[in-house]
Each structure stands twice: as structure tokens, then as C-alpha cells.
Assembly symmetry: D2
């Protein structure tokens, strides 16, 4: 037991340190504004992940625990109805105080209490700590994508990390991995490694024979789609997608810009860069992914197809999230986790699509083959791309 606990303590320290590492280059000002309602300030991510441990672990289990600041419960609750009222989501960008240093002190206060308490927590509470660490890793990714969005609104185009490089392509030729179909199991097994409630229960699914692309769709291929009038051809698009293209004048992936020499540039965490055509395309919406697949005479994979094929793919993880054609819905016999953390996943099961894999922004060790990420079909500020599929 001691070893296991010590493992959790080590892991806790490592995950918390990674959050701090990602926030290290930021000033208090960088960490404060909110560039759109979907995104949150870096300061908020730093605080909210600490609030999670304080609210779900420390306060309920440690009688002597002193809450760091009683206003934080209101400020840093994200969406947990069961955890009480909270600050309006659209107003997260006005919290100039507490300062970034205050938030760092909050993190240390929570860390000290949690590390001290860890050996005495029961197994169920330890499982909540584990959940809190995975939760924090999700916010590590959001911290980067939200920051990228914020910096992209600034005409001076700030650089977060001059050494940041885009995910490289796995291979140049597209091959097809065939799968004979049949009844298989997908989803996370009950025991053993960690998984979110929405990945469970592991269950049987029936898949027809299909093939899946051996690599992700590249910027070069996306450029062909643009050159072929992809964004001007209504019949390639879902109805909602075409309305979205028209309303927002969408003509390319989110951070691309047409340059005078006709070679697009892309805004990145290293600032504006010439587009690397061999890289996987990223920052596309489901609508764009679907239109591209239609243009190519192919389709997106289902999440079951993706999960079955993933072990054979060399770029399933670490480059970009891959839109699937599966709506984000409960698996058969899905039960939300007990208590307030039951709001973690289940209540988002309408209107969104599943993405699989992981991205360059996903912290190491957070990815797994059963992972179900989900976003609305118009959203594209995450590192989202696609892999093609076809029925056989």
C-alpha cells in the first residue's frame, strides 16, 4: 500500500509541476483575459484545478483543512451545479485579482495539504485524487489552446515559446489499414487503469468491414481542397456547416492566413510561421472535416472503428485529435460517477462529436486508446484534425 500511495504522491507532484511549467512563461497580464466564452484565462486554469482538489478532497475529508480563500469557491467552480453557485463563465476574464502570484500561493497551499493527507485517504478518495490529476491534465491542454487563441487575437502576435514546433507527419504515403469487422469490444475495462466514466462500460459493438487511413490528412492535402473550391461548394457541406461557413466567412483552418506569395502562414505558439505542408492539418471544425471527407469521396471513421484500428496506427497519438463521425452519447449501461463528479462528462451528451487520439498539446501519459474527447461541430480552437476511412 505504501508503494502505491507513494506512486500517487509522485504522480501528483509531477502533474502539478507540469501545469506550473506550462504557465511559467506567462505574465499576470497574459494569464488574465478571456478571448472568447469557450476559452478561459491561464490563471483560471491554475486555480480551477486546485479548487477541484480543495472542493472534492480536502474540504470534505480533512476536518482541520483551512480553505485558502472563501471567495475562490465561487470564482473557480466551472460547471458543477452540485457544488454551488459560480461566477458567470463569460466573465472569467475580469479577475485581475487574485494575482498570478496569489494563485501560485493557492496551488502551494493545496499541494501541501494534499501531499500531507494522501497517505491517510481511503481508496475511494484516492480515486478522486487520480480523477483530479487527469482533470488537471485536460486543463494543461486547454491552457495551451486557450492561450494560443488569446495570442492570436493580438496584432503583435506574441511568442509563447520560440522553440515550439508543429507536430510532424508520420509518413508521406497514405496507405489503408483494413479491418474485417464483426463483433468486438470497445471501452475501458472496469478494473485496472484509470478511465473516465464515459469510457465505460466496456461493451460489445458490431462493426462492418472498413479501412482506415494509415496517416493523418496533411496541410498539403487541405490546400488542394481549398484550391478546388472546397469552401465555396455548398454541396460538399452539412447544412449547418454551410451556414457556419457563410456566417463567419470561413475560408481556411482557424490560424491560417493567406500571404502575398500565395503560401499560407499559420499562427502558432512560436508566433506566425510558414505553413509546413507535410504536417497534419489542425484547427479544423467537424464541419470542415466532414466536407473534406465528402470531397475526397470518403468518410470519417466511427469511434469504434478508430478504437479497433488505433493499435496499428503510428500517428494515432501526439499530433492532433481526430474527429470521428460518432456523436458523443452514453455507452450502453453508462452510469455517471457518483456525487458531484458525476457532472464531469454525462451532462454534455448532446450536440457534440467524439474525437479520438491525442494532440501535441496533450500531456504525456494522458492519452489512451479508449479516450473520448468531445466538442461541438463548429469548434476548432483545439488541435483538431482528421483521418479518413471507408467501408469495404
Amino acid at each position: 500500500m505504501a508503494t502505491l500511495l507513494s506512486g500517487l504522491a509522485e504522480r501528483y507532484a509531477a502533474v502539478r509541476a507540469e501545469t506550473d511549467r506550462r504557465a511559467a512563461p506567462l505574465s499576470d497580464a497574459d494569464a488574465t483575459p478571456q478571448s472568447m466564452e469557450d476559452a478561459s484565462p491561464a490563471k483560471w486554469h491554475l486555480a480551477h484545478t486546485s479548487w477541484f482538489f480543495e472542493t472534492f478532497i480536502l474540504s470534505p475529508n480533512l476536518p482541520q483543512y483551512r480553505v485558502f480563500d472563501p471567495t475562490f469557491a465561487f470564482l473557480f467552480n466551472s460547471y458543477y451545479e452540485a457544488a454551488g453557485p459560480r461566477h458567470a463563465r463569460a466573465c472569467r476574464g475580469f479577475i485581475t485579482r487574485p494575482t498570478l502570484d496569489d494563485i501560485r500561493a493557492y496551488r502551494q497551499h493545496v499541494d501541501a495539504a494534499l501531499i500531507a493527507a494522501l497517505p491517510d485517504l481511503d481508496a475511494e478518495t484516492q480515486a478522486l485524487v487520480e480523477l483530479g490529476l487527469h482533470h488537471e491534465q485536460q486543463h494543461q491542454e486547454l491552457l495551451w489552446t486557450d492561450l494560443l487563441h488569446l495570442f492570436a487575437q493580438n496584432p503583435v502576435e506574441p511568442v509563447y515559446d520560440a522553440h515550439w514546433t508543429s507536430p510532424s507527419a508520420a509518413e508521406s504515403q497514405l496507405a489503408w489499414h483494413r479491418h474485417e469487422g464483426g463483433v468486438s469490444e470497445i471501452g475501458a475495462a472496469e478494473a485496472g487503469t484509470f478511465a473516465y466514466d464515459c469510457e465505460r462500460p466496456r461493451h460489445r459493438t458490431l462493426v462492418e468491414p472498413f479501412a482506415i487511413g494509415s496517416r493523418l490528412v496533411t496541410n498539403a492535402e487541405w490546400d488542394e481542397f481549398i484550391d478546388d473550391g472546397g469552401y465555396e461548394t455548398a454541396t460538399l457541406w452539412l447544412s449547418d456547416g454551410w451556414a457556419w461557413v457563410q456566417e463567419h466567412g470561413v475560408r481556411h483552418p482557424l490560424y491560417w492566413r493567406a500571404e502575398p506569395d500565395n503560401r499560407p502562414s499559420q499562427f502558432t505558439l512560436a508566433g506566425r510561421k510558414a505553413l509546413n505542408t507535410a504536417d497534419p492539418v489542425t484547427h479544423i471544425s467537424y464541419y470542415e472535416a466532414d466536407a473534406f471527407a465528402t470531397w475526397a469521396g470518403l468518410r470519417l471513421p466511427t469511434e469504434a472503428e478508430w478504437e479497433l484500428a488505433a493499435p496499428g496506427l503510428s500517428d494515432a497519438f501526439g499530433r492532433c485529435w481526430q474527429w470521428t463521425m460518432s456523436a458523443y452519447l452514453p455507452y450502453p449501461r453508462f452510469q455517471p460517477a457518483a456525487g458531484a463528479v458525476g457532472e464531469y462528462n454525462g451532462k454534455f451528451m448532446s450536440g457534440q462529436f467524439v474525437l479520438r487520439g491525442s494532440s501535441i498539446a496533450t500531456p504525456s501519459g494522458h492519452e489512451r486508446v479508449t479516450y473520448r474527447n468531445f466538442f461541438y461541430p463548429h469548434q476548432r480552437w483545439q488541435f483538431t484534425g482528421l483521418r479518413l476511412a471507408k467501408s469495404l
Copy 2:
């Protein structure tokens, strides 16, 4: 062949007549305004269904066919990008001219040409006529639901048909029909009876053991949900659903009104009526259906479960459409129909949920067990209700 053709001609006459019958009680004024962007004026339905035959059958196949009015192609195209530009959807309510009589003349013009042409059409074009009739039946239902919505905006609460009665309940006691699960086939077979492209191809699906309610959820049961604080309890709701409840102040089904004696009334096509508690609840959104099921400790059926169980249900059809928990997505190997009518269904496959069955407003003969109706989760101006299910 002659018999078959004559069958189609008879059917054509019958369907077109039913549209006219539904519009008969309406004045030109009743048939003109548009009460919200989702709905269309009755006059528009009458014209658009005729435009369908003119555009997809008469003009392409009959060299001598004289278009009734060249402006109608622009006015009465709904959403077919391949059929050219069209009047803005939100502006359908300003077409005071052509008059209702003009539209009726348009209908007769199209009918005369089509009936005359029918014997000489090839099989593929006959299939398009068949599609046009099913299309028209869908608009017959919309004509009623859109009119109900329009009349509901009018403080004088007009009566469309004093003899209109709400759908009666199948049985008072709720029983559970059990299904052992396994691999079964759903969807429409390729040959034989008519089906929309989205119901095809018939394909295998894997279902786990489940039970489905023997009857629809009633107004009395919905009243219990209200009394138990259903609309005030955030944790019962999907996140998007709760936001919708808050934004619109939703406290009951669409056409209910709290009355001083605490017994709700309901606005119907017969005007305002006392609520019949034994009737199936209608005019609820997916969000409401899902929250009710959560409150009841149960869930909605999937569309596969519904389709497998439907033959054993006495109120599957003719009362109200039943929300399923399945997103409206393509079946495996789905191919949209060729040509402009390929836009009929496929381009709507994002963000919507499937409803099964049929309603009191569905014209006789239009329903079938493989039928996939679909609406956005917040929409509820159709005759939408629910049936409960559970996993075994």
C-alpha cells in the same frame, strides 16, 4: 405496368387532395405569416410541394412543359443548393402575393401536367414522383404544426377545427416489453416499399437486452415531474438543456398554460382546452424528454431498440413522435440519393436527434417502422413525446 401507373396516379391524386383538405379552413391571411424561422406559412407549404414536382419531374422531363410562374423557382425552393438561389428562409412570411388562390391555381397547373405525363415517365422518374408524394406528406404534417404555432401566438386563440381531439392514450398501466438483445437487422430493405435514403441500407446492429415501455408517457406523469421540481433541478438536465431552460424560462410543455385552478390548459388546433391527463404528453424537447427519463431513473430507447420493439407496441404510431437517444447520423454504407434530392436528408446529419413512430398529424399511410424523423434537441413545436426504456 399500367396497373402500377394507375396506382401511382391514384395515390398522387389522393395525397394532393389531402393537402388541400388540410388547407381548406384557412383564409389567405391565415396562410401567409411566418411565426418563427423554423416554421413556414401554409401557402408556402402548398406551393413548395408543387415546386418539387415542377422542378424535379416536369421541367427536366417534359420539353413542352410551361412553368407556371418563373418567380416561383426562387420563392419556393426550400434548401436545395443544386436547384439554384432561393428566398431567405426568415422572409417566407411576407409573400402576401401570390394569393392563396394563385397558389391553388399553381397546384392545379402542376397536377394537370403531372397526371398527364405520368404514364410516359420512366421508372426512375416515377420513383421521384413517389418521393415527391412522401415529401408532400411530410409537409402536410408541418402545415398543421406550423399553423398551431402561428395560432398560438395570437391572443384571440383561433380555432382551426373545433372537432380536433388530442391523441388518446393506449392503456393506463405501464408495462415493460422485454427484448433479449443480440445481432438484428434494422433499416429499410433495398427493394419493395418506399423509404427515404437515410433509412437505408438495411444493416446489422448489436443490441443489448433491454425493456421498453408498453405505452407513452402521459400528461399526468409529466405533471408529477413538474410538481416534483423537475424544471428547477439542474442535476436532472443535460448541460445544454439546463441553459435552454434558464434562457427561455421553460416551466412546462410548449402549449401548456398554468390556470388559476391549478389545472393546466393546453392550446390545440381546437383552441384552448383543459388538459386531458391521460393523454400522452406532447410538444416537449429532447432536453425535457431526457430530463424526465433521468428523473424517472430510466432512459430513452435507442432508435434500434425502438425499431426492434415497435411491432409489439400498440401506440407506436399515430399519437406522437418519440424521441430516441440516438443522434441522427448515417447508417453504415449510407449513400445519399443521386442528384439534387440527395440533399433531402443527408446534409442534416449533425446536431439532431432521431424520433420514431408518427403523430396524430402524420397523414395516414406515411408512417413505417423504419422511419427516421429528426429535430434539434431544443425544438418542440412538433407533436413530440416520449416512451421510456431501460437496460436489462
Copy 3:
């Protein structure tokens, strides 16, 4: 006294008949939809003007008067808070019933009661009848301008009156009428002829020497403004005006359309017509009028200047309303009329500009030199034009 009363009765009959004459070419459908929140359906105008007499004359003064329909008090109150709750302004277009014939019967019901009661009404109530007639004349103008707006939304471009002609120009050469300035009186005298409360009290005003254009600005002159890039030159515009131009893509007066031969057409109550360049420009906003004057190196007149100069102008009335640079504000010692009709004018005294004169749509006898019309600076669906002025 008898003569005077009989004069009022005759006038009542004449004004009411003119409303009916204007509505005569309309079907129930034409009279039902609402094309924007600023405009109202013809049916509503017909009913609301009758509601005015019923609410402010008949019901309070005639104990035996039987209200025609008790729902009309709610349906046809425009904005009188003191007269109780009312139907939402934006929902006036959904009242398909009562029918146009019902409304006509309502008008006759009110007319019969009012004509019968007239001889016995006291002077104060007679004054309210007089107010009601002027009120009705305002709605006669609105009936036409609202209908023009509705028909303009219809791609078939309906014709209201094939013989409708635009207002002709007074003279071709622009001359300048000079005024030496000084302290003068403007506004309506207390006794004698009718005036709205906002035209009173007559009061002294100080005007500096000025000159005013002898005729209205013409379409030809407006075309020069367009050709000179008037709509693309930010520095000509008020800040709010430039924002309005950008947001709505304004490039010409409301009902103009660029034609392939480069000669604009204009939608009118006679349908679409070639633009008569010698006619006064109409359907322009205050923002446009001000930008034009700035472009011309001139300015708009104040309402005092206009009122002092009007007796010397040959086209002051009957062509188009003329924007002045005066905000619509109370005259010194202004007192709103007593009772509910005190809401007639005074509560609109913020954010609007005064227009003077009258238009081709103004009923004969309604115009007067002290008349203060008022609209928001972006509004232009009325017959609005301009006359230039300059300081000396």
C-alpha cells in the same frame, strides 16, 4: 355650436373614409404580416385607430356603449401604458384573425356609435375626437409606408396602385432664400387651429442669419454623391452613421437598386420604376442626409429656420419630409396633454430628430407649418428627404 359639431362630424366621416380608401386595394393577406418591428400591418392600423376612439371617447363617456370585442383592447393598444397591457409590438404580424372584414365591421361599429354620440360630447371630449382624427391621419401615412416596406420584401414586387407617381420636383434650379435672423416666434398658438401638444407652446427663439434652399435635393444630386464615393468616405459621416453604413452595407437610398444599365431603379407603390432623376430624393436616413450636406459643404436647417422660411418655399409640403438638424426635444414650458394621451408625444423625446413639412403620403389637410415629425437617425422607410441650408 350645431354647425361646429356638424363640421366635426363631416370631418370625422371624411377622415375615416380616407383610411378605408387607402386600405381598399388590400386583401386580408396583404393586411396581415409585419415586415419589421418598426412597421405595422394595415389591419392593425385600421383597428388601432378605431381602438383610439373606443378607448378614449366611447368607453369613458357612453355608459351604454358596448365594446365591439373585449380582446381588442389588448390587441390594438399601441404604446399607452396608462391604457393597460398590450400585445407585444414585434408580434403584430401573427393576427390572422380577426379578419380584415372583422376589422371593417369594428370600424363601422365605432363609427356608428361615435357619430351618434358626437352632438352630446362636451368640448374637451370633442377635442379628443379631433385628436383622434389627426392620429388617424398619421396612421394613413404609416399604412402606406409600412405597406411599401412589406411589398419591397417580396421578390414578386407587388403593385399597390399602378397609377401611383412619385412626387414631382418644384423647380430645377436651386436658389437660396435668405433670412436676416433675430428673435422670432415659432410653435403653435394656444387657441384656434389644432396642433399636437409637442408643437406648443408658441415661444420666442433666436435665429442667426441663414439661407435655405429653394427646393429639395434631387435624385440626380444624390447620384452625384454616390458617384463621388459618398458611401465609401468615412470622414463625411457621423460616427454612428458610418457604423450603420458598414453594418448594413448601405450604398444608396432604401428602395433603389443598381441596374445593369447603370441607371438605378426604385421600388414604389406602383412597383419597380426607373428612377426619375429630377424628383426629390426620398427614403434616406438622417445619417445619409447629414453626410450629403457635409459632402456639399453645407448643412441641414434647424427646425426653427425651417419653420420661419417655410412660408416662402414652394415645395415645403406634399413631397417628402425634410430632416432638420434639431433633436426632438420639448419646447420651453412644454406640458404633455392630460391623461393617457399625454403619452402621445412627450415620451419619445430622446434620440430622435425632427422632420418638417409633409410627404406625398400625408393626407390632405394634415400638414401645417408647426408640425414636428420625428424619427430615429437610422430610419428611412418613411418618405424622408432633405433641403439644404447655410449660415450667413
Copy 4:
């Protein structure tokens, strides 16, 4: 001449130092977000006022002047169309970089160049420097009011200056200062002291006999208005005002909050404080000021009345801006200043009302009796209050 120049240099240094003093308590984070489109970040104010000197003085007149940062022309132009394209107003809150220190360096760079250049500038350019200083003083006031608005959005209610006190009342008893009326002159004289173009030309105006309140309306009086149902009584309000009250649920001045003990508190730059009932009411809109005056059976003064009466008032300045009933319009023979600074005032002359006096936030020396401040009738984040008037 040397003395005069040296006077301008001293004044330049003093004004610029006051801006820095006001920003001194702010962190980079405090100075970055934008709490609504009307407001701007403190950092933006610091930079924009420097951009004014760089753009209108240094770059056009000093051949060797090196622009501090070429991106600033785009970032910190407010609304000068003639000065080229600019960053969208609504996006001012995303400029986390340049940092506050960068902006301070920018200020020093501009200051050094301008102080050095000052002796050699011609009189016209010196006048632009003078304009730039008055411009900067306006932004000093905005810096505080925008910061107050930002801090008010933060549930932790930050304190800007613990010693900040609200403006005290001039006297407890309201007396009436009478003015016999007649033709008088208002506006700024051409020569002599500085004034904005919109305060000119000095011109004759005719005023009828009136009386004006000897002191500002107090919080205690406003509380009476609330207690008497002021915010619930439609007939007290302008039509646009009542719509604004309903839409936003307005029930009290902007920064008031009802407290459990029934005594309101007010959010201030010293944080939340108990309301001092003897203080002048502030943070009210024109709509509220007008409704209050109507409730009191009185009215607001015109700007001419205010200007004529001001020399006799002990609290005309330094407490709060006072709404007048005058629309912000050009004075007779108004000419905007030449060049880009002609956009300073003139283009805002529609839809706004004039406020007179000055507030506690107005920097010392910026106020004058001819000063015309202006805001839209719904705006109330400035220190806005009222003084009553009546006709005699």
C-alpha cells in the same frame, strides 16, 4: 515667447505625470482586460494618449523622429479614420503584450522627444500639443471610470485606493437660483483660453426665465424615488428609457446593491461602502435623471441655462457630471477643427445628451464653464448625476 513655451512644457510634464500617478497602483493584469465595449483597459489609455502626440505632433513635424513601435499606430488609434486602420474597439482587452512596462517606456520615449521638440514647434503645432494635454486629461477620467467598471465585475471587489472618498454634498437644503432670462451669450470665446471646437463659436442664445437647484440631487432623494416605485412606474419614463429599464432589470444606480439591512451599499474605488445618503447621486443614466425630474414635477436644465447659472453654484464642479436636457449638437456656425483632429468632437453629434460641470474624477484644471461632455442616454458608468431646474 520663451516663458509661454516653458509654461507649456511644465504643463505637459504635469499632465503626463498625473496619468502615471493614476495608473501607479495598477498591475499589468489590472491594466489589461476590457470589461465592456464602452470601456478601455488602463494600458490602452496610457498608450493611446501617447499615440496622439506621436501621430499628430512628432511624426508629422520631426523628420528624425523614430516611431517607438510601428505596430502601435494600429493598436492605439481610437477612432480617427483619417489616421488609418485600427484595432477593433471590442478587442482592446486582449493586448497582454506590449506589457505595462513597455507602455511606460513608450510614454517616456514620446515625452523625451516632445519635451525636446517643444521650443521649436510653431504656434499651430503648439496648439495641437495643448489639445493633446486636454485629450489626455479626458482619458485620466476614463482611466478611473473604466477601472471602476472592471473592478465592479470582479466578485472579490478589489480596492484601487482605500482612501478614495465619494464627493461630498455642497449644502443640505435645496434652494432655487432664479434667472430672469433674455438673450445672453454662451460658448467659448475665440481667443484666450483653450476650448474644444464643439464649445465654439461663442454665440447668442435666448433663454426664458428659469430657476435652477442650488445643489445636486442626493442619494437620500434618490432613495425616496426608489421607495415611491420610481423604477416600476412606466408613466415617469421616456419610452426608450422604460424599454431600457425592462430589458436590463434596472432598479437602482449602477453601483448600488440592496443589502439585507435595507440600507444600500455602493461599489467605489475604495471597494464596497455603505451609501452616504447626503452625497450627490452618481452613476445614473439620462433616462433615470429624466424620470427622477418627472417624478419630482420638475425638469433638467438646458445646457444654456446651466452655463448661465453655473457661476452662482457652489457644486457646479468636482462632484459629478450633470445631465442636461440638451442634445449634443453643433452650435450655430460650428466648424470642426482642421485635419484629423476634426474628428475629435463633431462626428459624435447624434443621439447623445450634453452633461455639464465636472466630476470627482476630472483632473484639476480640466473643468470650465463652457465644457460640453456628452454620452448616450443609457450610459452611466461615468460619475453622472443631476441638478433640477424649472421654468418660471
